[in-house]
């Protein structure tokens, strides 16, 4: 590394004489001298045929003693207990996952993969040990996005798409008479997702119901992850949070339902089965 590569003066002079720039001439002359040195050592230059490359790789592997980032083979069909065509039965897969998650004993602290398991992921190859990134997270039970996840998504998309199409075929979107600013309709309601606010307007001053409360709700909602310091995601460990959120949703849902279905002309309380449904989507 340290010794400077000498340039091949002969080549340099020739290239300069040919009118090449000095920079290019120097680079080419350097390369020429390296090639000459290699040839003197008897090293073959240029791309090697495939079998020769494979032999070189084998030599490298054996010289590294199986380490150095050479991928360990995954569980072979033979030791998977006669699985047909290399496929695992669900039991075998579960066993293998359990083993790699470290439930089967014999854990290796550094990688989160038991030393005894021959099912490992090595993401790097032919890298000096100092360059290997230590991945601390445990290996998880994962599946390929294609086809597994994409199939589920595709079916969900088709289901909702066809549901909407059928609904649109049979149910027409409402269209009232032409807008007239001088004629207030008897039933005057906001879209359903704002009915909670309109219902609140019934009980509070507009500045509270229309601006302050929704503003506070929105800020609280955004602040939730910073307020909720509980590290657990399990429902049994976060009863307060779930209760508070359920209360919030229920409260909101009740307001929307009252506003949408139980309010009629002049925004007075009505029973839909008596005075009809004063609600348009």
């Amino acid at each position: 590394m340290s010794d400077e590569v000498q340039i091949d003066q002969e080549v340099f002079d020739r290239l300069v004489a040919e009118g090449k720039s000095e920079r290019i001439a120097r680079a080419k002359a350097k390369a020429a001298s390296v090639r000459k040195a290699r040839a003197a050592e008897g090293v073959a230059l240029g791309p090697r045929p495939a079998e020769q490359a494979a032999t070189a790789l084998e030599e490298f592997r054996s010289s590294q003693g199986g380490g150095g980032g050479v991928a360990t083979k995954t569980a072979a069909p033979a030791d998977a207990g006669g699985a047909a065509g290399g496929r695992l039965t669900p039991d075998q897969r579960a066993a293998r996952v359990a083993a790699s998650l470290g439930n089967g004993g014999g854990e290796s602290a550094s990688m989160g993969v038991p030393a005894a398991s021959d099912h490992t992921h090595r993401l790097l190859a032919l890298v000096p040990p100092a360059g290997i990134q230590q991945v601390q997270s445990k290996q998880m039970d994962k599946v390929y996005t294609w086809p597994h996840l994409l199939l589920v998504e595709f079916v969900a998309l088709l289901a909702v798409g066809s549901l909407l199409l059928v609904m649109s075929f049979f149910l027409d979107a409402p269209l009232g008479s032409l807008a007239n600013p001088n004629e207030v309709p008897a039933i005057n309601k906001a879209p359903w997702y704002f009915m909670g606010l309109q219902e609140l307007l019934r009980y509070f001053h507009p500045m509270v119901a229309g601006v302050t409360l929704p503003g506070v709700a929105l800020v609280l909602l955004m602040a939730a992850p910073y307020v909720d310091k509980n590290p657990s995601a399990r429902p049994e460990n976060r009863k307060v949070a779930n209760l508070a959120f359920t209360f919030f949703l229920t409260f909101w849902g009740i307001l929307v339902i009252i506003g949408s279905f139980l309010r009629g002309a002049g925004y007075e309380w009505v029973w839909p089965w008596v005075q009809g449904l004063g609600f348009t989507l």
Partner: protein
């Protein structure tokens, strides 16, 4: 098998091979191997929103109910149907020339599939508000907003707000009694914003009361400005899902 020959001929075609990148299931030589499964999602512009591998528990329908994905699907559906509707709509409501309302009548009366597409747009919009709400509830109950996903939850709340604004601005466009008065209720509330109430209302309405300039203003907001902002936040939202370690859990 003539069928098989045709398939091979098409797949060998130079244009076909240039379109479908290695790993595509439409490319010759796709095999159901780990490598090709990985390439299938890696080498596709749409699929690579997803990582190559996902946690197995996230596949269960009862974990996500696909709510985020469906919200996105509805957003796309609304964009497509919305563009169709734009061809037949003029946001004009001057006295005596209420083109907006006339266009709505013509759309259902004389445009092929006009009523159907408008229905799809209307019901799709309600459905999207609903799925976004449900998606938020699902994420909360799974505690999926916990570190490192706090910021993505905030982005999600902004997206919920944007969805509501998209739906609400669209509500005015038919320019019928229903639209006019529903929007009146909403904008009156905004007029009570402390300190700047009157100014907020003036900017939103483009005047002192709802009129032709409100319609034009909300039309531009509905078809251009809010979708543009939404797409930016959607991009951040999806990107953060992957950067924050994919789907949350298992519980």
């Amino acid at each position: 098998m003539a069928n098989k020959d045709l398939k091979t001929t098409v797949q060998d075609n130079v244009i076909w091979r240039s379109i479908f990148r290695p790993g595509s299931i439409y490319r010759k030589g796709y095999r159901d191997t780990s490598r090709d499964r990985a390439l299938a999602s890696m080498n596709n512009v749409l699929y690579h929103l997803h990582p190559v591998k996902v946690k197995r528990h996230g596949l269960k329908l009862t974990y996500t109910y696909c709510l985020g994905g469906l919200s996105f699907f509805l957003f796309i559906l609304l964009t497509v149907t919305g563009i169709f509707l734009m061809f037949f709509y003029t946001p004009a409501a001057g006295a005596g020339t209420e083109l907006a309302y006339l266009n709505m009548r013509e759309l259902s009366a004389s445009v092929t599939f006009g009523q159907l597409v408008r229905n799809l747009h209307r019901w799709g919009a309600h459905a999207m508000v609903f799925t976004v709400f449900l998606h938020m509830a699902r994420v909360f109950y799974h505690g999926a907003y916990k570190p490192p996903r706090e910021f993505n939850w905030v982005v999600g709340v902004i997206l919920l707000l944007l969805t509501l604004l998209l739906s609400f601005t669209g509500y005015l466009l038919p320019w019928d009694q229903l639209a006019l008065w529903a929007v009146t209720v909403g904008t009156n509330m905004m007029g009570y914003t402390p300190v700047f109430g009157d100014q907020v209302q003036f900017v939103l309405l483009g005047g002192l009361e709802i009129g032709p300039s409100t319609l034009l203003r909300w039309y531009v907001l509905h078809v251009l400005f809010i979708p543009f902002v939404t797409v930016i936040f959607l991009a951040v939202h999806f990107w953060r899902i992957r950067k924050d370690g994919g789907i949350s859990g298992p519980l």
